[in-house]
């Protein structure tokens, strides 16, 4: 049994089980299956701790660039195409897989009080969709066939729509449909790219004589177009055809257009200004555990998509759009921060802070430097830990007070001391206090942006503006803490129970990780991710250099 297949489909098994077990056991089954998935995903660790040489199913490259636990089965085969069930995990996917299983497990625990929710009907359906969502998310992170990737991408979309639309707050239908439409718009662009990339890769092979050696598998010849993401990124014939200035799509350069199509699809997910307005609405209306998943995992798919698809397959597109993307990233950072500053709704504030934090991910990736890529990746993991914590903190008080008006709170630290302490840890991690997880990612991204100044002079001012956001972030978070947790104890909240054992467990697990990631960033994240990211960046820069070289020499001959 392939480990990845097990990890991906175990939640689905649990989902089916939720439909058949007695109603009073549904919660237990759901928590158990998400816990089991987490346990299984931890089995991936030995592979990465050991460097990965011994893995019999490993393919492609060396060390961290290697794809581990690969499974490759023909799925839909035709004369001129082959769609495969192709899963694998490398340094890019591995931390995200573990993050997904972890956040899902904690969010599942956070759903434990389902029966006391405002909308508490359909417990079976809720946990069924919840676990189905987990399968979809895990599938996205490990699928290496574009077609399969797309299917998982859509599988994840539908449960989310229902989870928000059925179990959400007052304006849940609006929020759900908004989420759905935004994401669907991205999916459509991605679908166009999917089809176009398949046909163009076929054209490339046909132009090269109809049979081309695979870019990474020995002794394999490509006869027709492919959906294989690794192939698209590594096969020299396809790569040079994609990057060539004479390959046109709708009259524009193929790489430039395709990059943008994919980028927009992922940018909506990340989300990036101006595609972000679905996020605050979705978060505010979604139930707490769904918000945790949304912030902790779903947003990361955007960043993952950039790193898995956009840059390796269309490096020249990244080069063309670098300035625009970096600017948009910085705008997101500042814009999200300013919006957060103006919020009076607790959950909306946290949602906008996500927009700001995710801006760093885009900035780090856009400048295409080692530190930038690494920082963006770290920022994704760090935000994947700290933002579910913040959303759960909001949920805890919402469960008790049934409102989220920041200005109506006050003195909660006095009322609920343990909750106050946890909140301080969570929000300071989000603020980017050194020694906690938020700090490393931001610093790395800034370092990478400064570093990019050598090739892109515009990187310096952008880095300075992005760095100024530390003030903005501190402003809205400290102001929030002051209004909600400090100050006089209010009469209406007296007698509120402090966080329960279950709530403490969820918060404490995340709090420990917030600190651990800040103190041991190398051991917890960088050791696993840097190999793959550096390799990826190397290929990207090589490809860019080659294209600009050929452009120069072509110019000379012409």
């Amino acid at each position: 049994m392939n480990l990845l297949t097990a990890i991906v489909f175990l939640p689905m098994l649990g989902a089916v089980a939720c439909l058949v077990v007695p109603k009073n056991l549904v919660r237990q089954v759901a928590v158990l299956s998400s816990a089991a998935t987490l346990g299984l995903s931890l089995w991936l660790f030995p592979t990465f701790l050991g460097g990965g040489g011994s893995d019999a199913t490993a393919i492609f490259g060396t060390s961290y660039g290697t794809l581990h636990h690969v499974i490759r089965l023909p799925w839909i085969m035709g004369d001129s195409f082959s769609i495969e069930f192709f899963l694998g995990v490398d340094g890019l996917a591995f931390p995200l897989v573990v993050l997904t299983t972890l956040v899902s497990f904690l969010a599942c625990l956070a759903s434990w009080n389902f029966n006391s929710w405002k909308v508490n009907k359909g417990i079976r359906a809720y946990f069924f969709l919840f676990l189905l969502l987990e399968t979809g998310m895990l599938g996205v992170f490990v699928a290496l066939d574009f077609f399969l990737f797309y299917i998982f991408w859509e599988v994840m979309l539908l449960p989310m729509y229902f989870l928000i639309g059925v179990w959400g707050g007052e304006r849940k239908e609006y929020a759900a449909i908004k989420f759905f439409l935004f994401t669907l718009a991205g999916s459509v662009l991605m679908l166009v790219a999917l089809v176009a990339m398949f046909f163009y890769s076929g054209d490339a092979i046909a132009a090269a004589g109809g049979s081309v050696a695979s870019g990474y598998l020995e002794g394999v010849m490509l006869q027709h177009g492919t959906f294989d993401l690794i192939e698209l990124a590594t096969c020299p014939t396809i790569q040079s055809y994609f990057a060539s200035g004479s390959t046109l799509f709708l009259g524009m350069k193929f790489a430039t257009v395709m990059f943008m199509f994919l980028f927009i699809g992922f940018a909506i997910k990340l989300p990036i200004f101006p595609f972000h307005t679905w996020l605050p609405d979705a978060h505010v209306q979604a139930p707490t555990p769904v918000s945790m998943i949304l912030a902790g995992v779903l947003l990361k798919m955007g960043g993952y998509g950039f790193l898995r698809l956009c840059y390796p397959i269309f490096p020249t597109g990244g080069e063309v759009w670098a300035y625009v993307l970096a600017c948009v990233g910085v705008i997101s950072i500042i814009y999200g921060g300013l919006c957060a500053l103006a919020q009076t709704d607790f959950k909306r504030l946290v949602a906008y802070s996500s927009v700001s934090h995710m801006g760093f991910v885009l900035l780090g990736i856009a400048v295409m430097t080692k530190a930038g890529f690494q920082g963006a990746m770290f920022q994704m993991i760090a935000h994947g830990i700290s933002s579910p914590m913040c959303f759960f903190l909001v949920g805890v008080i919402y469960d008790r007070a049934h409102h989220r008006e920041i200005n109506r709170f006050g003195g909660l630290w006095l009322t609920m001391p343990r909750y106050g302490t946890m909140a301080t840890i969570g929000f300071f991690a989000s603020l980017g206090l050194p020694g906690m997880c938020g700090f490393i990612g931001e610093v790395w991204v800034l370092l990478g942006t400064f570093d990019a100044g050598a090739k892109y002079p515009w990187a310096y001012p952008l880095a300075i503006i992005a760095a100024a956001s530390v003030i903005l972030t501190a402003a809205y978070i400290l102001w929030l803490i002051r209004r909600v947790y400090l100050g006089k104890e209010r009469e209406e909240y007296k007698g509120y129970l402090d966080v329960s054992g279950r709530e403490t467990f969820i918060l404490a697990s995340l709090a420990v990780l917030c600190i651990a990631l800040g103190i041991f960033p190398t051991q917890t994240v960088f050791n696993f991710t840097n190999g793959t990211l550096d390799l990826m960046l190397q290929q990207v820069t090589n490809a860019i250099a080659m294209v600009s070289q050929s452009a120069v020499s072509g110019g000379l001959i012409g």
Binding site: P274, L338, K488
Partner: protein, 652 residues
Amino acid sequence: MDFDTLRTCALVILLAPLCAAILAGVFGPKLKGHTHWVTIGGVGTAFAFSVMLFLQVRAGHGAGFPVLIPIYDWLLAGVGKAFRVEFLVDPLTAIMLMTVTGVALLVVIYSRDYMRDHGACERGYERFFAYLALFVFAMCALVLGGNFLLLYLGWEAVGLCSYLLIGFYYDKPAAAAAAKKAFLVNRVGDFGFGLAILLIYLTFGSIEYQVVFDMVRQGLDANGHALAQGTITAIALLLFCGACGKSAQLPLHVWLPDAMEGPSPVSALIHAATMVTAGIYMIARCGAIFTASPTAMMVVAIVGATTAIFAASIALVQTDMKRILAYSTISQLGYMVLGIGVYAADSAVFHLFTHAFFKALLFLGAGSVMHAMGGIIDVRHFGGLRKVLPWTFATFLLGSLALAGVPGLSGFFSKDEIIHHALTAHPVFGAVGLVTALLTAFYTFRMVFLAFAGDEKIPEGVHAHESGGWMLFPLLVLSVGAIGAGYLGVGAKPFHHFLEPVFANTFMAANPVHGGHGAAHPSFWQAYGLMVVSGGLAALGIFAAYLLYVKQPWIAGLAKASWPGAHKAAGHKWYVDEAYDAGLVEPAKKAGRVCVGLDDYLIDGLVWLVTAVPRGLGYLLRTAQGGAVQGYGLTMVIGITVIMLVVLWNSA
């Protein structure tokens, strides 16, 4: 000097308070009123090992320093280099560590009684001691760190502790607001500091002190090119930005007076003796960078001098004892910054050292007054306390004499040195230093006279009483320091000689006044003449305060009435807070509201427009399929008619 001993000392100094913080935090609820023992143990151990480290450094004087002690690889930089957790030990570190842990130990002892009565919040007692131990850990980490990233880490960590401790009485809205303000204003400084570190890393390819400083001295960057003067000036100024935040220099001084909302022991330890001097420490540590840029040094000196006199002018009219002391702290920090700016880093560190004693003493004394007055600290509400609080009065008086710069006490020697160097650097700096000295003596004794002289006046319902032994003991110890510490800097100047190896290559060598040969020996008249002048100014200030506030109080009233505008403006701290509000805070909030408006109307409006197209089409198509058979029939008839017409037309 023995490397392993130093390593052990450094580790114990760091880990003992950290363990104390964790123990106090975890077991505090069980220990309750005994939690202070945990922190006393942890900080006491740190102090003992600081002394040991100091002795080690002194024993190996001149040879082999600074010592770099690597601990472990912290993280791998994106460019392939490792950032290590490493300590740097040299005489400056040794002195800072002793000052920090020593004052901290006394403050912890003092807090045992003080916090017992002022633990306004439930569970407050153990929380306080946990934070305090955490602060000592963070401050020691800041001082011990061997590279810029660790400095930054400690820098932010002390900021966090300061935030938590200012907001200790978090049910008080003023305290909650002050905590936020302190952290936020410091963040503005840290923004510059952070950029400086990035710039250092990109220029020199390293963040280790020694590597960076060596390259600065050689004038080379990471690629072996000559270092641009602009780069080094930018780095120095950005670093100074951070120092301005932490050490409350203009224009980032606004947080410190508000920080007095925290408990008095916190004010004494963090906001007078230790954390606020981190900026001074940083500039002194980065001497190589600062002295490489005369422009930056000039900025440092100007900011220091301006801050010194500006804060002193505000202190003249405040009525809250702790706020007077806070402005006094800002002013004294200004002296230190001025001292560094005129290349007298050893004098600045010396003033830092003596100031730690007498200012901690004054804050603890003010705390003792507050303790006796049932939490009231405004001098308008009490007076003539010398009989009720004899010990507090005696020690407070000693501290005030030291602060006022009365000859023979510690503050006199250290401040005089700075003024001397300022005078040789530029007459204006010297004049500012002297005028500030006069103001200092005046506002200090204005406070002393208002609180302790005259007829006894005690707020109603307050049972005034002298503090107990736990609080008086630290006051007495600090009094000894306030008197004696100054003598380390006279005669053979053991203090300065101890520090010499640290500054020999930087401030002393680069001093333009003495042609790069370190401090020149001033002539007899230069040295003693200045002493007489500044001693005279101190006496004059004290006498003026005596005249205005004891003998002829009407003069004070007349002065206030004659210059109402100036009095009001100084009372409002020259409207700096208001300027920040109008210039930064409100615009930021407005910008936030504008962004939200953009989101709700512009972006969502566009989205609505885009979705309106399919919606409109759908509406049209829906009306066509309403389900009414008559409608279908009509459409069918029309359709057939049209088709028939077309066919007929064509065939015709």
